[in-house]
Symmetry: D3
Subunit: 239 residues, 6 copies
């Protein structure tokens, strides 16, 4: 089996991370996985939501959204429809949960970091690119708080990165673009820490249920992909 | 480690399935996993949504919701808030995807089955109880269509059941009630077919990232639990 | 004229009240008027809404809703539509007003009781079953507050019960199921206290305007029906 | 007991009906019950809603609303809040039901009349003024359809008028302004036909439950008030 | 070119201002530009929105809306649609901005004046009639605050009035009714102070772009029209 | 008076137009006016909205929005709030009207072009950058339709560009960044055709009303700015 873009089964698409793409946000990057472009921006502000006040703990939250012309055919704006769709809700929650695993709330102190991941162009893997880029914005927002003297300790306890994997015609593949995504029998998104542990494993049978051997093959591919992304994140952050 | 309700680590809570709990719906059951009570109802109607007309294929969709007093503290109605929350959206999508794996659309013909899973009381595992009970309602709705002579073939190609697993104090446990759920370091929902394959694997690090060995242990527990549930489903359906 | 279910004109359908059907709510019952099933649940909490703070008075409010598969044909969820319909609004207000007549706010102290009436299956008379069952849940929630030592006096000054009456082919009938309801020329819902006084009288000409004699006949039927329901409420509450 | 505005217990406030207050609407009037001012407008258009097409029957519907500065203290716009309140819903439904009793759908043919009742100033009795004025607008809209040759027969089979009654300090009173309305122990709105039959009877215990004798006294007052209003409607319509 | 209603190009339609049309509002008028009727009402209350508290400054805000039967064909209510349309938003903002130019916030003190402009009948020029009438209501609401002793100084620093102008068949015309408005190549709304300065100039090419000479001609017409309206405002206010 | 960024009063900020910034949209550019970055994308599709079918005429529409982190302080998403704000509505309408002036609907045939202007970073002048960039995207979408053979003639009859002008301390200035915008006494947005005519003139007194001389000075500045932008548009389009 040959992939349309000529990649090996275990090869990422070209990944570009342009750090500080924005001027106002406390942390930001434009991250590209092939043609997928996600603008990740983090704002850091003192204080926490009401339900967390006085706890001494910080808070990290995330919102994911797609511009109407990000997709091949224009899709209606959720603001115009007056409601957020299920997919948007689900991915926003996933991004938030994933990033919170990178953070020690106590060390963050009563500060809030809000991360926005806006998909400017979609070609598969938007949620995994969003998580991977959001970590960059998060790290810079933490750094901003550090320079403000607003931190209690070192809140960044881990890095997180994410990648999609899937099975097409029985072959496990890494980092699926849209054309592969729609054909996959099984589709999995994996979020991992820089130290190689799992944060989220979301595997879905699209065409047919899958067995343990297939699951294991996919996880192995994903682990290698996340390790690559972790390296690229470190480079982008100048570590 | 001892569980508060005295169960073994690999033991389900008492499961009760009361089939045909409703009179109007084409299929229904009240399913209980311990104190968790979910009312599952399926309506079967001729015709499919506009975007599927003329395809010869059927459609299955699901909606999950919670009554305000299902939880320990009353929660506001989503109808009153005027919008569906992210969690509701996410679980509705999960239930729908899981049930669609049980169905051969071609054999279903241009008919639509809509399944509602309303949580009357919540004590952990509401989404897995919902999927397990929804399958019963789905099977009866299919039977209803068969009696109407509306089917093209046998649409029920598989059964599906679901269970939650989690790790508490390092110990993998099956079927977590609320008190355990809030303490779990890792939380996983697994949907499987009656033939033992995976439909959905959703593992989330709640307190700490998890490794491959922990993942494997959880999947093994879940597989045994789903097999038990499959047996109970067959009994309920008089197979 | 013979009723389809063989009842006399002044006879209630079989009424079942299953008290404490839920585990978390401070008061609850599943009430059935024939095939109509309504789950009534009351939460009791300290404090009152902002506009009532410092008044020394309590508050009682109610919400009524219907599950999508309660009706013969599935109806869309109001949470999905993003707005509450006029009928739901109207009945919620009726239930709340009716229950507030049972309560002495001063004796309740600054506590709030919220009652949810969720129709699990509808076969006519859902609002009257809701009011009748809600009183049970209310009484148990008051009892809960009493055990907490949160009351100032005895807030339960009255019991309330409700029944529908209507005229079909010129004959006044008690407790109309759906098949009768749709044929009624006049439709009336009557809420009464245990001591036989009126709390609400809502009579509507559906097919033709009605005169005083018809109104009087309907009120007489309703008074007898409410007296029966009051007796059943007392039994359920072990009075 | 003396009423603040010096009226007898069974006396209406000054009622003014200014017919054809608007230029575009097919029927309209500004109706005033004392300081209460309601603008009633009816549009008549060919065709009926989708669910009624091909039935040969017409349709009449109504919407009631209040301007923000109609009340003593400005109230927020429902359009700004993004949702219609329960009270608005309830009254719109009441107005629509009441007017439909005046109409023979068959004679109306497949035409739709939509009536808007907008309260420009509120001083008690807005719903009853709305119904009474809406009948004028309805009659003129029917006349408009007649001139267009769009009718099948005579759709106006009855006139309808409405008035509020209530009990204050044990005394039944007709047509309550706001200052009386807030003090009433029992509050009742009665809609009647020109021939003296009941269309709607909505009695609500506000402060204390009421007995049959009180109910009868209120209905008698209301019948006389509605007869007066019927006479004023006929005058306004030049009958 | 002859105008359908026989007016000169630089002539206003008959303008009527009925001051104090309402009883409850602190200031109000019904203003008519020909068949266009707008009810303007101002409420004055102590206190300012949260974001302005402690500033010593007052606040003025406005909302514009249209009754459903104001237009030739009935339009749906924004409250029923659940959202405010772009046109409504835009005009509300314009009215608010225009009136704020008349006010010295410091002299107003921490008081809020809210102005509602509800179009009862629309025949072109509704936004300009709204602004012109709103000034009357504003002036009376300020007067009300003065009588309450709630003012710090004289907040009414200017009067404001507004008129529409447009070009039809190359001819600049003042105060366009609906029939002219739909035919205009260029459409302009001009808000001016009583002293003849510009507050808002909103010119829009409807059919063809316009040049500087046309713009100047329109502004000249508008200035004369606003001067006339200022005189009528002063008369209405008894100045 | 010296401008903070050292520009002359009549000088534009550095303008960058990156054409075809997106891969899927039929036309797109990233346009930058200093730090203001707007992503403009146009989709071209066959067919027109229902109300225009069979007219032989095409349709052009536009939506403007801002990413939450575009502003100095993060602003809430309109999709999350469930409604579009007045400012967004107003600017979307302005962009749409402006672009429609560039188009001959008849030559466009029954095709629809939808333009999205998403502000990625805001530093004043977002609406004028949006209009200027949208024209580029529009021109490329028209070109796309031409290559498809879907056009009836040449729909691009004009180019449009827009710029903001304002008065600070009595001095008219071109192209205001945020720091100047908040200080301006008068603020004006001007949309012009490539041939130097006016499409929209929107002048607003922010701090004090303005006179004819000031208006004229601002229009002159704007005309020169728009002429510069027209030249940059032509360069970007390779004309």
């Amino acid at each position: 089996m040959t992939r349309e873009d000529g990649r090996q089964a275990d090869q990422l698409r070209p990944v570009t991370i342009t750090r500080n793409w924005l001027d106002h946000a406390q942390g930001s990057c434009l991250i590209e996985f092939g043609k997928t472009k996600v603008l990740c921006a983090a704002s850091a502000s003192e204080g926490v939501p009401r339900w967390r006040k006085g706890s001494g703990l910080g808070w990290v939250t995330a919102e994911y959204a797609m511009l109407p012309q990000a997709t091949h055919d224009r899709s209606a704006r959720e603001s115009v429809k007056g409601r957020i769709g299920g997919r948007t809700h689900e991915i926003s929650r996933l991004v938030g949960r994933s990033l919170r695993m990178a953070i020690d709330y106590k060390a963050l102190g009563e500060n809030t970091i809000t991360i926005d991941c806006d998909v400017l162009q979609a070609d598969g893997g938007t949620r995994t690119a969003a998580i991977t880029g959001a970590y960059i914005a998060l790290a810079d927002a933490v750094e901003h708080l550090r320079r403000q003297g607003a931190l209690v300790g070192e809140p960044l306890v881990e890095s997180v990165a994410a990648i999609s994997v899937g099975i097409i015609d029985g072959v496990p593949l890494l980092d699926l673009p849209y054309v592969e995504d729609v054909r996959a029998e099984t589709d999995m998104n994996v979020v991992m820490t820089g130290s190689g542990k799992f944060v989220e494993v979301q595997g879905t049978a699209e065409g047919a249920p899958f067995d343990k051997a297939e699951l294991d093959a996919l996880l192995e591919l994903a682990a290698a992909g996340c390790a690559d992304l972790t390296r690229l994140q470190n480079e982008a952050l100048g570590r």
